[in-house]
Symmetry: C2
Subunit: 569 residues, 2 copies
């Protein structure tokens, strides 16, 4: 491709609207342009990258035996009513009406369409297992689209759905998809981790997320430094401290703590470590037919954070997790939120494992501006149970039993689920078994954010000059950059010949034939992240040489023109 | 691909819902499934065909220098307000609102988005010409979706838009696109014709449609039997008859024609050819500031059909063409519609060229149940003008001057337009010229109905057994069909080895490893249209031979197994 016949669209300035580096670089390098909030046009350079990601995903899905289909973006509402998600799905589901006033949605996902298809097409166990995928445009009406294509509204996604006659078969395909995802991200050249994930609102049992590691990631990932273990912080178990709880050494006493509202205040006021205090959070419990939701106390060490997912997964706790209001706290406990403690509480008390291992700790006295010191479990309060309630922190022992936890940030680019019978049951998707009985199918689903990968790759691979593409997804493998071509026939001839030679060899080459200053050309190609630059200068031609710049390593070297193909061997 | 691991989804029965053969065969051969009115899921076999069409289109667009982009399906309403089409576009434009109550459309076409993009990105004449294309999912809210993917609501389209500094440059790209389209349809292996087309509501000046010829086509195409000339019947000029008009030989006389209402009635009543009569149609003329729309008379030979496009393109005639009501006719002429004639009319009269060449003809007398015979132009009425008003018919001299017209039916699969400044003007899309002045760009646009091509290919290539794919878009090139594999180890081994060999050679092969009767297997592969069947039978293996069936020609022949690769040489 010649730049003179190309839509380069690079920008010198960083657009003020772009918050994250990938969004800034995607605009500056001419990969995308904004059409409306969360809606983008992919320019030629960006689309090349997107298609490369798409092709790697497709090849590995096919290698894993999945069959490609293409479902419509516009889906009839009745399918969503049948699955129950017409009601359950929030306002991210864009609902619309056609000219005949019939209700439709813009598909954010395709469980309904595919389950209905399989219910109609498959009737015998002989046709199973089946794994169908598509690479298709989806729409999610984000309340606040941001970070460019990372959290856009219209995006390209690979979604796959597998159908099985039972759990065991599902687990095999799930593992095959896990392996395929690893191959995909390996081939993309990204530093990634599969992590154990919460299954969230989509339902089902086992689940892994695939994260591209990047400091700008929205998710915290907990790793073991001694094994392969990785989990979303939401899902990583915080083990109980080992050994016996220390024995009590202090007497219980009540002290005045005027104006102390937070753990930070308390630790400062008493000159002690927050790890020797506990905080008590009040949330709503499960309502029953007879009783409205009771208040339940959650007790954590002062320096730990509540893990809301762990809390709401407890049987006694209402889901979604709902904190008690100031009014409810005052009515039930008789003090404000900053003075609550587990001693003498007449409600269910659930204590985090680490908090339960403390001795001689400090907590609220359930009276305003008062705290208790020298508190000890069992001696001072017996009315509690113990659970894992907190987020793991760096240095915690890994729940896998090997090594300690490190925390890194990640960008979720894939997610695989064991869905079970959730959709198959409600949409009556079953087959005749070998014994001639109807059996509801067991499903898995497997997503990859194709357009998001482009942004995630940039978050992980850039420097102050621009993008540093992994070779597998670079829009061009090499740029031919002649210096002052207009003034030197020899430079022009060499550049043209080199371009011709590389093109003929099937190498993706961009030839900068603009009449621009060298600095402008270098800046553009560094911004665009082309892995190799071949610089053709008048002086070096005396030796029949060109300069080779490696965008990734920064190395520069001279190369005989006749050896140019050795770069691509 | 093994059929045992595939989603074959063939149907024995023709679904009652499918009217046209392509829709029937696409359902029966397992290419698509209906999700809702005009919305389809592409199954693996169908998607393979769709992707092959898509790839050929992409390759030829790139060869012609066009750059691929990808625009969003959901477009903000303000762009459509800016172009004026928010008001002008009918209910086929699906309008919707997001969660913040902002208005959007589902894009049926992308002139607005691309013109805005180019207005923002391009500022110098040096960056021109530019031709941008995408292959993207579109939505058109058809009032009555039908014929399967032929007239669906969500469909895959290639749309391209070119930008130029003037007419001359546009014409070059238009010609390049014309040539690229010919290469595309040549490579697809379809019998097609580029035809001169009406530009319709999209506006602009020159336009060609590309039609796949098929008896079931919705459009009438007029061809010359003596040249390359082809035009949509809407657009084909009917030449004036050559030679002098015959001299008058009869006297004008008025005759009673009780209950005669139609030309057919009249010809029968008077025992003469409809070609010796004229019919007079009353339509609305152009309204002016001072006067409401007058009534205008259009006069055609009794055996000819009015061409509404030609009529409404006349300056005197209102657009869209509007016929006068019975009330208006009675008020202005004083008789009913079946008795009107051009003699003595006090309104504008426009006579078709062929009607104007008649002598001694019959027409209405402008009195109920009365006609005139022996009518002659100029002698009996002078108050008229002559225009081309009618559809051409088979046998007419071709307007190109060579040969005579034939009429065939076609399916429109491509359309190219010279748009001119229509969008660039309203959306202020201009650049600085070499002289430093701002100049509005001239545009072309170029569409191909990618999903429609799949259906059109079937309409043109099928027999009573199923589809006969052109090789370039067949989902599989060859099927390996073993006879009673379960009973013969030798058949199984040969089939497996052959499958392995073909796959390794990169040939798209489907291996029918189901335990089905031969008849079922043959029927499925004939239905699916695989060009070659390799039939492996126990008896032929004695001679180390297989049977080769050619789906297109119907030929069967024996082939030594060792020669199998010669089929793909």
């Amino acid at each position: 491709m010649r730049t003179s016949q190309y839509l380069l669209s690079t920008l010198k300035e960083t657009p003020a609207s772009a918050e994250v580096i990938s969004h800034q670089l995607m605009l500056r390098a001419g990969l995308v342009r904004n059409v409306a909030s969360g809606l983008y046009t992919w320019l030629p350079t960006g689309l090349k990258v997107l298609r490369k990601v798409e092709n790697i995903v497709r090849e590995e899905m096919e290698r894993a035996g999945a069959l490609e289909v293409l479902m419509p973006m516009v889906q009839p509402a009745d399918l969503w009513e049948e699955s129950g998600r017409w009601e359950d799905y929030g306002p991210e589901l864009l609902r619309l009406k056609d000219r005949h006033d019939r209700a439709f949605v813009l598909g954010p996902t395709h469980e309904e369409v595919i389950t209905k298809l399989v219910a109609n097409e498959i009737n015998s166990y002989k046709q199973l297992p089946l794994n169908l995928f598509q690479i298709q445009t989806k729409f999610r009406d984000e309340i606040r689209p941001r970070f460019g294509v990372m959290r856009g509204r219209e995006f390209l996604m690979k979604d796959a759905y597998s159908f099985h006659l039972g759990e065991e078969c599902l687990k095999k395909t799930y593992q095959a998809m896990f392996d395929a995802y690893c191959r995909i991200f390996d081939r993309l050249g990204l530093d990634y981790r599969p992590v154990i994930a919460d299954t969230g609102s989509i339902g089902g049992e086992a689940s892994h997320e695939f994260h591209v590691l990047a400091d700008s990631g929205e998710d915290d990932i907990a790793f073991s430094d001694g094994s392969d273990f990785a989990a979303n912080v939401e899902k990583a178990e915080a083990l109980a401290p080992t050994g016996e709880r220390p024995a009590a050494t202090q007497a219980l006493s009540e002290i005045a703590t005027p104006k102390v509202r937070t753990i930070e205040d308390l630790a400062k006021f008493l000159s002690l470590d927050a790890a020797n205090t506990v905080k008590t959070l009040l949330v709503l419990g499960e309502a029953t037919k007879e009783h409205e939701a009771p208040i339940v106390a959650l007790v954590l060490r002062g320096d730990h954070q509540l893990n809301e997912v762990k809390a709401e997964n407890l049987a006694k706790i209402a889901s979604p997790l709902t904190f008690a209001t100031e009014e409810q706290i005052l009515a039930v406990i008789g003090c404000n939120a900053g003075s609550i403690g587990p001693v003498g509480l007449d409600i269910d008390v659930i204590v985090d494992r680490s908090a339960a291992h403390l001795a001689d700790f400090v907590c609220g006295a359930n009276k305003n501006d008062m705290h208790l010191t020298g508190v000890n479990w069992e001696r001072d309060t017996q009315n509690y149970s113990v659970s894992d309630l907190r987020n793991v922190v760096a240095g915690d022992p890994s729940p896998c039993g090997q090594g300690n936890i490190e925390i890194k940030r990640g960008i979720e680019v894939g997610h695989i689920f064991q869905l079970g019978e959730k959709y198959a049951q409600t949409m009556n998707c079953g087959v005749l078994t070998e014994a001639g009985k109807n059996q509801i199918l067991t499903m898995g689903c497997y997503g990859i954010g194709v357009s998001r990968i482009v942004a995630a790759a940039i978050e992980q691979n850039h420097d102050k000059y621009g993008i540093k593409w992994p070779a597998a997804i670079a829009p061009y493998q090499v740029a031919v950059v002649p210096m002052n071509m207009a003034k030197s026939a020899r430079v022009k001839e060499t550049a043209e010949a080199l371009y011709e030679q590389l093109q003929t060899a099937g190498i993706e080459v961009i030839f900068d034939d603009r009449k621009e200053r060298p600095g402008v050309m270098f800046a553009d190609h560094e911004l665009m992240g082309t892995p190799l630059l071949l610089v053709i200068g008048e002086r070096n031609l005396d030796n029949q040489e060109i300069e080779v710049k490696n965008r990734i390593t920064g190395e520069k070297s001279m190369l005989a023109i006749s050896d140019v193909m050795s770069l691509f061997a």
